[in-house]
Amino acid sequence: MDINATLIGEMLSFAILIWFSVQFIWPHINKAIEERQLKIAEGLDAAERARAELRDADSKVAAEIKVARQQAAEIIDRAQQQANQILDKARGDAIAEINRLKASAQDDIASMAQRAREELREKVGALAVQGATKIVQREIDPAAHKALLDQLATEI
């Protein structure tokens, strides 16, 4: 059998059939395929994004923990410094107070010694006058001899 009109007619119809399929049937299948590809791609993207977000969150948490640790260390440092300062200040105050008390005590001691010395001097003066009176057997005019007595008192 050679190529005859029958086969050519059938081939023409077949060509139209193929054209129809390409034009009207294949696009539907292609659309379904592309939608499927898109859906899968989106799903994979979403999963990848979620993973990346998780990684980000993890590193952010780690960074924040690091910052918090640093801050805590700084706060502790500062607290220690403050404590030291307070201690120093208290020590200084205490020393100053001690010095002050010591000074006032010394003053007191000094003034009491002075007073004692003066009382002693007056008593010695009086005793000297009494002694001299007994020796001379007569009244010595304290006024006339005051200068003499004072001189005696200062010499003691």
């Binding site: 007619g9 077949f14 899968i40």
Partner: protein
């Protein structure tokens, strides 16, 4: 060739309906070499195609080829899932094979009815029928395989005793007088399955092929008007046939699944 004027339409058609046989007509061993060749080639084509796509399948974004295979697979699996509520590891691939293979064999109907015979004639082969599913031998081969599977799964799901009990006591009752009627009815039901499967597919494809040949008769009718009508008719019937081959492949698959899933049901 019978399409030449001296043969006439009747001879043209009868020539086209002649199988390529290994021995002469009527002999039990007259194997239809054309049906076997085309169905084997298409079966191997389908297997290779899906195997290659399955081998290269990725979990990532599929290429267009993979996406297409996945679409077909998902469609078939969805159909099986609707009908059969069990382990789909055997029934799923079975349905996929039936669907794609029958579809491909049906699709041979869309090729110009003189194309393959013309090519084979160049190699000295006079008769060649391109559509294996328009061969009753092939459709019965498939449907009898389905019957074997139905019987196998009936035994597997119910056990020998259970299946025998069902054959002899359903649907009328378990009285011994009803054993024979029950069994006869079940036998008819069982045998009607492969017959209806095979005849439906064969009938549709055979009729489709015949209409193509009748329209092709217009090409050699000898007038340009008829020739134009022939092209229009052939195209329109071809477009309509796209629907038919898909539906027939789908029906064959769904009924296969339904029959096998019915074999799992207890009565």
């Amino acid at each position: 060739m019978a399409s030449e004027p001296q043969g006439g339409l009747t001879e043209y058609i009868s020539h086209h309906l002649h199988f390529l046989q290994s021995t002469h007509d009527g002999d039990f061993w007259s194997v239809h070499i054309d049906s076997i060749t085309v169905s084997l080639v298409l079966g191997v084509l389908f297997s290779l195609w899906f195997w290659l796509k399955a081998r290269k399948a990725t979990a990532g974004v599929p290429g267009k080829g993979q996406a297409f295979v996945e679409l077909v697979l998902e469609f078939v699996d969805g159909q099986v899932k609707d009908v059969f509520h069990g382990d789909r590891r055997i029934l799923g691939p079975l349905a996929l094979t039936v669907f794609v293979w029958v579809f491909l064999m049906n699709a041979m109907d869309l090729l110009p009815v003189d194309l393959l015979p013309w090519i084979t004639q160049k190699f000295g082969v006079e008769h060649f029928r391109a559509v294996p599913t328009a061969d009753l031998s092939l459709t019965f081969a498939m449907s009898l395989t389905v019957l074997a599977l139905v019987i196998f799964y009936s035994f597997k799901a119910k056990g020998f005793g259970g299946y025998m009990h069902e054959l002899f006591t359903a649907p009328f009752g378990s009285s011994p007088f009803l054993w024979i009627p029950n069994f006869l009815l079940n036998l008819v039901e069982l045998l009607s399955k492969p017959v209806s499967l095979a005849m439906r597919l064969f009938g549709n494809m055979y009729a489709g092929e015949l209409v193509f040949m009748l329209i092709a008769g217009l090409f050699s009718a000898g007038s340009w008007a008829l020739y134009g009508m022939g092209i229009i008719g052939y195209t329109v019937w071809g477009l309509f046939h796209i629907l038919i081959i898909s539906i027939q492949a789908f029906i064959f698959m769904v009924l296969t699944v339904v029959y096998i899933s019915m074999a799992h049901d207890h009565h």
